[in-house]
Symmetry: C2
């Protein structure tokens, strides 16, 4: 999944906070209500809701309200999308090292 | 490499900007001077320096000044570290799906 630059801005911004990362890590273990999500965090409910909104905007989390309970769910494909950009840069770097290796080997052959 | 929460904050913040991602993508192809790095970007030199400082703080980029030229270099291990946190959440999610599959299979066995 190729993400737009604006989508990547939102995704990496969402990841740049320990509280939001803790919420993602909790939801990686399964869906949770907002109060279950808030319980281990030392945050006011308005702060939790603010972080949750940013997680929804980034696409990492979707929420659904049934009756009085809002349930939060992780979207693992967004984790993959955030990884894809990083993996692409890593493979560019590795390809460069491979080219350098090939060059050095060719130089060796020329010496023989 | 396990990163502290503060280090992850800096790393994901650094990634949350298209200009900084463009600088990382350029350096993934090999080291560059500050002016080479700035050339394709539609930014003032003070803006380039500000972004470069954030990339240095995050650890993604190191710079070295020799004579009058400052050369910038990508640190690929930091890309790996930013990926590691995402990969860990993904594997927690996958482990949960595996447990659910195993549970459904056991239910099937009980029915027989």
């Amino acid at each position: 999944m190729v993400q737009s630059s604006a989508a990547l801005d939102l995704m990496y911004s969402a990841l740049a906070d320990g509280g939001r990362r803790a919420m993602i890590a909790r939801l990686a273990k399964g869906p949770a209500s907002v109060s279950e999500l808030a319980k281990p965090l030392k945050m006011s409910m308005p702060a939790v809701m603010k972080h949750l909104n940013l997680l929804e905007e980034s696409g990492f989390v979707t929420t659904e309200k049934i009756g009085r309970v809002r349930t939060c769910k992780l979207e693992p494909k967004k984790l993959d999308a955030a990884q894809t950009w990083l993996a692409r840069q890593r493979s560019l770097w590795d390809a460069r090292l491979d080219r350098m290796d090939a060059f050095v080997l060719r130089m060796g052959d020329d010496d023989e």
